[in-house]
């Protein structure tokens, strides 16, 4: 019989405790009582009862009997009772209460105790021992010898290990693992136990006729409850209890084949999508979003008095006239003039020229920057004030550059800077900042972009001014999206919002010029933010800084109001004073957030589940399809086959301990899956994604639009061709299609959940757009539905979505593709990789599945489908 571990059941435990025989109960009671007595301090029970080798004499012989009953503490007593009870119960049931009483009050305690005392005295120690563990080991040794008789070895590998050594192993374990246990004491117990078990000590048991005589005279069996008679040995009194293991129908096999559970996953994954979207929609509510707050105490925003006013306004006007005069001059002439101004302010100036090529166009220019060395710093840290000569829309940043020049002159006068300040004027707002930041961190391609002749310390933050008009403004528009959806630390944004708020200037985000704090406006701000993040492009000169872990934002004044350029200057001054206070890099606040308005946000913990749920939907479906692909082949005429066909299905017996059930043998089979073709198809389509990625990033601007048109039209019928080819050459069955879908969805889920940690919005958008892929399957018998679904699915292809997006935002496709290629070449943007290597392959496989026509499966001896194997796992 293989050993089996009975499941724990309360009813059995209770009946076991009620069945404990008399002597066992008494011993437990005595141990508990002695422990209770030892709680008081008047009489030291342990000192009285313990076995102390040096104190054993004729008068103190009682100790050899009392020591197993006395324990050191509750834990000791409890553990020993736990160990002793089952062993003692078996012993008593076998030998009877009277024999047990005689043995345990006599030789079973005394002989090991005397042996121990003798050995201790021999080696000159005097270790006190206490507790019933010595009995436990004695009994264990007896049991072990008994087991050895019936079952001499157990086998591990090819090695046979005699069973009688188990107690020795236990003794070693106990002495290693439990502190303050007496190895010698336990060994003495074991020695007696082995002696008894092997029959050398049996003479110690009182002769049976005496016991019978006593029992008969006193009528113990009638008077004492739970008494075990000498006659009724070995369970005689109780018999063997029926093992009442309940049938357990919810075993793993039956669960796995449960039809209800097998139907669940598609609904579950649909539920995931619905919850994911709903989750996002409730975020703007007051209960789910939070008000922003400054985490970094050192920032102290708007706590300083700003002095940028008065005569500096005249300086500003002068600089602006100069900037206006430079107007449309060449880059070099502009920089010559700017260099003069910076030098006149007493700053070190340097220039850097760069040249990028992308989509057949050349982007060249020269950046100029000046460094203000901190009077109180050691040039290990720096803050950057940036202005593009031209802003993102190509307008002249006239007031912005003038303001930078004025602030450079103004900041130079102050002695309180502890960080260097770099004033950077880039030739344009797209390539220039990238060239400068790359070169600052020495990651530029040195043949196209010059190295920086002058450097300062680690950049702690960057603020960009984009101020192209010269009238008064109403509020400040803050742009914060970085490349690939990275964001600056929320503290930087909060600082600016709080400073401008103190000065009575409003702040707005995501071109929401009039934010009414309604649900709709909040949602719109959030969705615009997600769109920018998802596209992953640069939204201002600051974007290039963020990948280098430099927190940066762009400030754009807008509207008609009564704030003048000096107010803007004071905002910058105050922001720089705050950044100047920083003791370490901005790290306190969030790096992952969605903003609803300037002072309301949700953090990653709150919003991430929505993207994860959308990604998980694919994984759930993949797991479901995998399980399904392992289930046996479905017969085409399955309905009522058992009744009408008259052919009996083979039945198999499922045994669950005592419960047996007849189930069709088919249900238990696990089918051998054929992985090669599905893996090849999925891997192949993943690799195909490299093709559009390469083409669209390495085509000249003029060709982008025609190539895109060609690609879109090819994309329309490419899946049809591919599907036809596969059908022709490999004749895939429905089984193959299921596996193709499994792997495709698995990979999609995998990529999207990884992506969700890097760029939440992109993962969410792609997940949502490819959600229908969860439900596509070949529909060979419904050509009309197939046609309709194919049209719908085509509408969700990456190319169609791109065209629709361009139409919606009134952009030209060629421009968008040019921008994307620029992003790839200059900014290191990788949205394209996600589109072409994650989304497009998944869509391609989905479309192929939809138009695929699976072959009829043969349930043959050999051929395509191997016979389903009878494997229960």
């Amino acid at each position: 019989m293989p050993p089996s571990l009975p499941q724990f059941s309360a009813a059995r435990a209770r009946s076991y405790i009620f069945r404990l025989p008399l002597f066992t109960r008494c011993i437990i009671l005595v141990i508990v009582l002695l422990w209770l007595v030892s709680l008081q301090s008047a009489w030291d029970v342990q000192q009285w009862g313990a076995l102390i080798p040096k104190e054993i004499g004729l008068a103190t012989m009682y100790r050899t009997n009392t020591f197993p009953l006395v324990h050191a503490n509750f834990f000791h007593a409890f553990m020993n009772i736990l160990a002793l009870t089952p062993l003692l119960e078996r012993f008593e049931a076998e030998f009877g209460t009277l024999t047990t009483l005689a043995l345990f009050l006599g030789p079973l305690s005394t002989i090991p105790a005397l042996l121990y005392t003798f050995l201790e005295r021999l080696i000159g120690f005097n270790t006190t021992v206490l507790g019933a563990s010595i009995w436990a080991f004695t009994l264990l040794a007896m049991e072990a010898v008994k087991t050895y008789r019936t079952n001499p070895h157990f086998t591990i590998g090819t090695t046979q290990i005699p069973t009688w050594i188990t107690p020795l192993v236990v003794v070693l374990f106990v002495s290693f693992l439990i502190p303050n246990t007496s190895f010698l004491g336990h060994c003495c117990g074991l020695a007696f136990g082995y002696g008894w078990g092997l029959g050398y000590l049996k003479f110690l048991a009182p002769p049976e006729w005496i016991l019978r005589w006593i029992e008969g005279k006193l009528n113990l069996l009638g008077r004492l409850p739970h008494y075990v008679s000498v006659d009724q040995k070995t369970y005689g009194r109780y018999g063997v209890l029926p093992t009442t293991a309940p049938a357990d129908p919810t075993s793993s096999v039956l669960l796995r084949r449960n039809p209800i559970i097998l139907k669940l996953p598609p609904y579950l994954s649909f539920l995931c999508i619905v919850i994911g979207v709903a989750w996002l929609l409730v975020l703007p509510l007051d209960n789910y979003s939070r008000r922003t707050y400054i985490s970094e105490n050192a920032l102290l925003p708007a706590q300083v008095h700003t002095y940028f006013a008065g005569s500096d306004q005249n300086v500003f006007r002068g600089y602006k006239r100069e900037v206006d005069a430079l107007g449309e001059r060449s880059n070099i002439e502009v920089n010559d003039k700017l260099e003069e101004f910076f030098k006149a302010s007493g700053l070190k100036v340097a220039r850097q020229s760069y040249e990028y090529k992308s989509a057949g166009e050349t982007y060249a220019g020269e950046n100029i920057y000046a460094i203000l060395h901190a009077p109180r710093g050691d040039a290990t840290e720096a803050i950057v004030l940036v202005g593009g000569w031209k802003n993102m829309d190509g307008e002249l940043n006239r007031s912005g550059v003038a303001l930078i020049l004025t602030l450079a002159r103004y900041f130079k006068r102050w002695s309180l800077w502890s960080k260097d300040i770099i004033f950077l004027v880039t030739a344009d707002s797209k390539a220039g900042p990238q060239a400068w930041v790359d070169a600052y961190h020495d990651t530029h391609q040195s043949d196209k972009v010059d190295s920086l002749p002058l450097k300062s310390g680690a950049l702690q933050g960057a603020v960009v001014i984009d101020y192209p008009f010269d009238h008064r403004f109403e509020s400040i528009h803050i742009v914060y999206d970085g490349i690939n959806g990275q964001l600056p630390n929320l503290d930087l944004l909060n600082t600016v919002v709080s400073i401008s708020g103190h000065m009575g200037i409003g702040a707005s985000l995501q071109q929401m010029w009039h934010h009414s704090d309604s649900y709709k406006d909040r949602l719109q701000t959030m969705l615009r933010g997600m769109m920018n993040q998802g596209l992953g492009h640069a939204s201002g000169p600051h974007s290039s800084f963020i990948p280098y872990h430099v927190d940066a934002i762009t400030l754009q004044p807008y509207g008609e109001g009564w704030q003048d350029e000096m107010a803007m200057g004071r905002v910058i001054e105050s922001t720089f004073r705050s950044l100047n206070n920083l003791l370490e890099h901005l790290h306190q606040s969030f790096f992952f957030y969605l903003l609803m308005q300037a002072d309301r946000f949700v953090s990653i913990g709150t919003y991430l589940p929505s993207a994860m749920l959308v990604a998980v939907n694919f994984t759930i479906m993949a797991i479901f399809l995998w399980v399904k692909s392992g289930s046996p082949i479905e017969k085409s005429s399955k309905v009522g086959s058992t009744i009408e066909g008259g052919e009996k299905q083979p039945l198999a017996i499922v045994q669950e301990r005592n419960a047996k059930a007849l189930v069709p043998a088919e249900n238990l089979a696990v089918r051998e899956r054929e992985l090669f073709l599905p893996l090849a198809v999925v891997a192949g389509s993943q690799f195909l994604g490299v093709l559009p990625l390469y083409i669209f990033n390495h085509t000249s601007q003029a060709m982008l639009h025609p190539i895109f048109a060609a690609f879109t039209s090819i994309n329309g019928f490419f899946p049809l061709i591919l599907s036809a080819l596969i059908t022709h050459y490999f004749a895939p069955t429905a089984h193959h299609y299921t596996l193709i879908k499994t792997f495709s969805l698995l990979i999609l889920g995998l990529f999207l959940s990884s992506l969700a940690t890097l760029n939440f919005s992109l993962a969410f958008l792609v997940g949502l757009l490819s959600a229908p892929l969860t439900y596509v399957q070949p529909l060979p018998n419904h050509p009309i539905i197939k046609g309709i679904l194919a049209v719908i699915l085509s509408a969700l292809s990456p190319t169609t979505v791109l065209v629709a997006g361009c139409w919606w935002w009134e952009l030209s496709v060629g421009e968008v593709l040019k921008e994307a290629a620029f992003g790839w070449d200059v900014w290191g943007m990788n949205t394209q990789v996600v589109v072409w290597c994650v989304w497009w392959p998944a869509w391609l496989v989905g479309m192929m599945l939809l138009v695929g026509s699976p072959m009829e499966e043969k349930v043959g001896v050999d051929g395509d489908v191997r016979k389903a194997k009878m494997i229960m796992s």
Partner: protein, 421 residues
Amino acid sequence: MSIDRRKATLFGAAAAVRILLFTSFPGLPELLTARVEISTPVTSFKRLQEGLFLYNHNVSPYDGGVYHQAPLLLPLFSLLPSSATYPAFTYLLYILVDLLSAIALINIAESGEAVSSKLFTSPRKGKRWSSFAIAAAFLFNPFTIATCIGRPTSVFTTCAILHAISKAVQGNSFTAMFALSFAAYLSMYPILLFPPLALLCYDRRKPLKNPELMYSFVIGNAVAVGGSLYSLLHMSSLITGSWEFLSSTYGVQLLLPDLTPNVGLWWYFFIEMFDSFRNFFLGVFWIHLSSYVAGLTIRLRRQPLFVLTLLLGIFAIFKPYPSISDTSLFLAMLPLYRHVFPLMRYTFLASSTILYATLLGPAFYYLWIYAGSGNANFFYAITLVWSLGLSLLTSDALFAVLRDELEVERPEMKGKEIRQI
């Protein structure tokens, strides 16, 4: 082994893929060399360059405290033209080592030891992959390719271990022991493979007239390992001029002074550890690692090759400085047990877990180190998932093999559900 046309094509294709990756993406080798998943402090190619520079300038390579690899690698690499100026030679060396490993793997697969050892023959022995498929699975495994491009010195250990096993299944016990001691010399932990490897040699040795006793055979092999190991170490001390290299190479493996993150479980644990407990837990971790050897060797006495496979899997999880190179070695051996795959229960779960960890690992490392928006816990959580996936795979393979054995011992249990207790 005769190399027929198919195998020649396979080797050619594998080499071509690697050469293509080396040449068409010039930044890739540097990028992968810097990845913590591939390069550990004891195998990193960058650190090897540092050691090589010091060695070539007649400074002890261990003086910088950066180089922790075996001294004999230095003369080998200084024979090659400098990898900074002529990287092609280094690339070719690493490609060659991968192909040599594949040859050893083919030998192991062709011996049929996996399905039918001396003491045990699987009832499923008909269902196995050809040696060609197994070698292809090794050579085109993305982990193997990434390891080859990242050029850590662990590929030499991999090659030595595979050759030790390959020689053992051919019955050349002395060569096998020499290969094992070379592997142990390079990375130390392979010495733990000695017991199963000696048993494998014993099972596969050529039948003699008067068969040797197992104990004397094992002792003889132990002496062989000890002898060759000593001569390697002595050569090392002659090269470096002192025995100091011992503490810089094996001492680093044993005492874990370098806590650079890797895919294993040790670094984070010892970062968090109070210094007073450090020695105790070092002991515990090493005992834990080595405790599998005895148990598995005894329990799976009939299939020593599987013990080796399983131990390689366990080392890939629990050794002090693991990398994906160790995983690729385990994944190279696992297809030998194709016949028990139908008995495994969690293949999909385990492989999905490993895939997820493969993608999320670099993402979280990026968030921690570059973006600054994550922290060490992100990456450690993913290494836990990675180890979970691998341990699922190992334990499931063990289950399948035990189940396979059970069905031979007790044919009536075939196809019945069993419960492990």
